[in-house]
Amino acid sequence: MTHRTARTRRTFLKQSAALSGALAAGTLGAPLIGRAQAPAIKLGVLHPVTGPLSYSGQLCRLGARIAIDEINAAGGIRSLGGAKFEPIYADTPSPQAGTSEVEKVNEQGVAAIVGAYASAICLATTQAAAKYNLPHLVDVGVADQIVERGMKNVFRFGPGYKKITEDAVKYLQSMNALAGNPAKTVMIIHEESLFGTGTANLLSQELPKVGFEVREVIKHANPTRDFANIVLRIKTVNPDIVIPANYYNEYALLVRTMRQQAVKPMAVFSVLGGAASSFKFVDEFPDVASGIIDVNHWYNPKNKDALALRKKVEAMKDQYFTYEVFLNYETVYLLADALERAKSAQRDAIIDALASSSWDRHFMPYGPTKFVNSQNTGAQPMTLQVRGKDISVVLPPAYAETAPVFPWKG
């Protein structure tokens, strides 16, 4: 179910711009004292823009930058006299760098932090920010430990991997049931870090409860230069469904090798798959990507604001509309809403405003925002399938653009 108010983001931006313009022109009655420009609100934008995660980190920064530019162009934060965001961009390629960048942006007097993409980096940055009671909005960071440490300054807008894995199991079961339960066995291929291992462990516990036999779980290194052996093993074990949980490069190599070795399970059903939710992969390898299913962060495909942002990003040279972009975009807007209501850029006031947030003018399929113990309780993943040259939401039914095709006979 969507819970959007009649007032969309567009109208909000237009009204903000008009109001700010009117205030600046002094046409709304009360004279402005001294007409001084409201002090800027410094915002720490922390992402790994160099190093192995730089592709994702740069997309994260792009999403945050678009939102900041839009909000500033529309007149800034109205309740603070049109105060504009002054972003302080920092590079956090590792947890250690994350900690030191939090120290630096804190010294520079930021009101809040948005970031820092990878779970391990978010664990470090949230902890460092907690020392200064500095509001930290987590953009992606799916490890649930990030929100389970009782830190009052941490707010995660998107879902964690426990929620994503539970939904993935539920959707896989319902898809299988709809097809007459043809699939009975699965094989999980995961990368070796916190994200892949945690996801694989949860899947291994949950899948047998709904009738799937987990034939084998294979861990691989980052980077893995060759997937031939893993694909040989898939051939030997011959599972009905292959579940990868890994990053883009390894994901792409794995499914390319599967195609090369003519391995065709009933489905490649990914959980937080690196490539299956990537328009770049679909563009580059449409035949390989075709039919792949992924349970991942996604926007409400029926929302006009989401489609407008997608168009805007795709019009940029060599840019793709990925979850890194739209999650960061929405996280900045979540902060803007909290600042509007807090009427203050003080850290305590922002934390209180975020904790009581019921923000619903976003385009994610989450409903009104409600934080319980740092986590937005309405956040949920979508099940996506590559169909032709596009990625379509196939589950849950309330957001589905088309029905899932399972088993895939491509």
Partner: protein, 295 residues
């Protein structure tokens, strides 16, 4: 005991993957093994060569194998210039300086690539990207068989260059006795730069064989550089045959180790552990490497 057909397939996969490692290590064995220049920029140079192959294919439609002479020549020029005008001048012949200078070059190259090409992973899809050859039931990718052939040919060419040409004799002389080589009139700076250039040209060739089956991004080289050093030390410093054999051993150890790791439920990454177990064993039993001469 795994199925013999799976074992054969894993062996062949290891052998062909090992050929890719050997290709990358051949250039290094000339630079590091013969001249003892510790070139930490080897991985970053491979990355640049992979970008060259990518752009030639994506922008000009030049097939990676057709691009081989172009990329090898360009990489030779880059290597020659780097040694002659940067590494040689900045290091003043001291090993610790060379190490730091090449490390600095690697950082500059990677960050330049990040600024110019951005951090995207790029791949190419040629007509033979998914083509395989059936060898006793094992489907071996055509691109990897081409890499195997390429590794054999380049090994022979390098061997001939070192054994039969004046340049080769000059390189060997410099490797043995630098001062003496200078005294008999060898232009040491030129020969060092030529060796560096040839090492980089080998990387150019390796990139042409690697790109159809792999990808490129600014950090791709770091995944290969440690393997390349392992192959060179394993095979014996300065031995091209050793680098080839070292590459095969590393590839097969990784493949069979991965297979055993999966069978035991320990994960495919056991293959990487197997590489270093063999490496340590060789260093303990034969410290000079398989084909290296005793000091």
């Amino acid at each position: 005991m795994p199925d013999p057909s799976i074992l054969l397939a894993a062996l062949l996969n290891g052998l062909t993957q090992g050929a890719v490692y050997a290709l990358i290590a051949l250039g290094l064995t000339l630079i590091y093994g013969v001249l003892h220049i510790i070139n930490f920029a080897h991985g970053a140079a491979l990355m640049l060569a992979l970008y060259a192959v990518y752009f030639l294919y994506a922008r000009a439609g030049v097939d990676p194998y057709v691009a081989l002479p172009i990329v090898a020549a360009a990489m030779f020029g880059l290597g020659y210039a780097l040694q002659r005008f940067v590494v040689g001048r900045a290091s003043h012949g001291r090993d610790e300086n060379i190490l730091l200078v090449t490390l600095g070059i690697a950082i500059v190259m990677e960050n330049l690539a990040l600024a110019i090409f951005r951090s995207d992973t790029r791949t190419i899809e040629t007509a033979y990207t998914f083509a395989t050859v059936n060898i006793a039931g094992a489907l071996i990718p055509v691109a990897k068989l081409a890499a195997l052939a390429g590794a054999l040919v380049i090994t022979v060419l390098l061997y001939a260059l070192i054994a039969r040409t004046d340049l080769g004799r000059a390189i060997r002389a410099l490797a043995r006795e630098r001062q003496g080589a200078r005294l008999v009139g060898i232009d040491a700076e030129h020969v060092f730069a030529m060796s560096f250039g040839i090492g980089f040209a080998c990387l150019g060739a390796a990139a042409c064989f690697l790109m159809p089956a792999y990808y490129v991004n600014p950090t791709v080289g770091s995944g290969f550089v440690l393997i390349a050093f392992t192959v060179v030390v394993l095979g014996g410093m300065g031995s091209f045959g050793g680098a080839l054999l070292g590459g095969f051993i590393v590839g097969i150890a990784e493949s069979l180790g991965g297979l055993a790791g999966m069978a035991l439920g320990l994960g495919e990454n056991m293959g990487q552990l197997a590489i270093f177990v063999i490496f340590i064993a060789v260093l303990l039993l034969r410290p000079q490497g398989l084909f290296g001469a005793r000091a």
